[in-house]
Symmetry: C2
Subunit: 263 residues, 2 copies
């Protein structure tokens, strides 16, 4: 099977144009098929504010009302996505910018209203990702660049968490490709001591993960992140790597980038 | 050769959601390969105004400064494009929304500054359209939906006239497909009497075009439009059809839609 890297970057990369350019160069330099998934960043908030639209929160949760969905469609699907594509083209990477509506690539279901109405938020199901159509793009020499938008197949765009999209893509494509899922964030990886970047843990398998949780080295917010990573691995993803976007260039040297989770 | 319809719609279709839905249904019902190109519409102006950005004009010409380019990238590339894609998906058409940067499909050159600096406006050249990559999408079962954005290959998005994009796509793809270029506008076609919709001229060949110009039935603004149409035909496009977006459904009956220009 051919190798595939599925890489997610967050707003911290997008907000700093120097970091973004370095990342996009390193991304382009990676061998083999690759997919990029990007989140939002501060620009969405800035544009909302300039249009007089306030972020809607209920019980600390962000709500995607119709105004927010319009902003997100403009900023994620247009401004950020198309500028990333244009930059990747500059570096010789044949990027193609996508939402889940494009090519019917990612189908989602509007989150049912229980105690909170999240608005136009889409949840993914097992069969959400159209692996066949994505493979057509990859095998045609295109590099898919996804923003955090999906659709319900009934004409409605939906806002979907970018981490969730990345994981679903990696799982669905692991039948066709030897898939590595990479989350870039603002830390060098999983750290023994959260305040010491030098305390990076290079490799974690399920056994070690169990031990690190018992020792409370891994706790609170990291647990659902790593649970999801190991769930992806148990569904066929070869490895999940968590690291700093600035360091992606190290990936070509193997094992020197971030924390690698595998069986 | 397989048939291909390249269809351009303007802001008048996009601004009216009922008309847009009817058009998208009719577009979906057309047999064979198809490509849609859409312009902007009032929503771009509304969003500019809500952000306090004024349209920049010099000598009656619209200027694409950096703020305008951001708006256009958000509204054309995001809001309008992705909503059209989501609607087409609803009707069972496997649409994929694109700028010219995506897949390096349409390359342009920033317009050189002479008497007027148009800003981030891109002009097309003979080799601008990447017919090979577009054919990969068409043959992969996707329906490309282009907004009026291109790129210079150096990381810069550019604003390019949607009519020009439609014509360049049709010409470039006529080597691979039997291509019909369709401009949808707010009239039923070329009219003998501009105030009488019943005076539609059904067919015009170069000889008749010459005569209609001599008789001043065709004059002023229609002349460059039709000159461009006949230029596309002389470059391999099978026919150019000009008609009202509301009537596209008639195209399945052949010859009953708009004015058909051919050799």
């Amino acid at each position: 099977m051919q190798a595939l890297h599925v890489i997610k970057i967050g707003g911290n990369v997008i907000d700093n144009s120097e970091n973004l350019h370095r990342f996009l160069k390193d991304f382009t330099a990676l061998d083999g098929h690759k997919i990029l998934i990007h989140g939002g960043g501060k620009v969405a908030t800035q544009i909302s504010e300039s249009m007089g639209i306030e972020a809607k929160m209920i019980d600390g949760r962000r709500i995607t009302d119709i105004d927010t969905l319009r902003i997100v469609t403009m900023v994620y699907g247009g401004l950020i996505n198309k500028n990333i594509v244009a930059q990747l083209q500059r570096y010789g990477n044949n990027a193609i910018g996508l939402t889940g509506a494009d090519g019917n690539l990612i189908h989602a279901q509007k989150r049912p209203v229980k105690t909170i109405d999240y608005g136009f938020v889409g949840d993914l199901k097992e069969e959400s990702v159209n692996a066949e159509n994505i493979a057509k793009l990859l095998d045609g020499g295109f590099t898919p660049v996804f923003c955090a938008l999906t659709h319900d197949g009934e004409g409605q765009l939906l806002n979907t968490n970018a981490d969730t999209i990345a994981s679903a893509l990696a799982v669905a494509l692991s039948d066709k490709y030897e898939t590595t899922l990479i989350y870039c964030f603002e830390k060098k990886g999983v750290l023994h001591d959260v305040n010491d970047d030098e305390s990076l843990i290079r490799e974690i398998n399920p056994e070690r993960y169990h031990k690190l949780k018992q020792e409370q080295v891994i706790h609170s917010g990291m647990i659902p992140k790593l649970d999801n990573a190991f769930a992806a691995i148990s569904c066929g993803v070869k490895a999940v790597v968590i690291g700093h976007s600035d360091d992606l260039g190290q990936l070509k040297g193997k094992h020197a980038f971030g924390t690698r989770l595998s069986e």
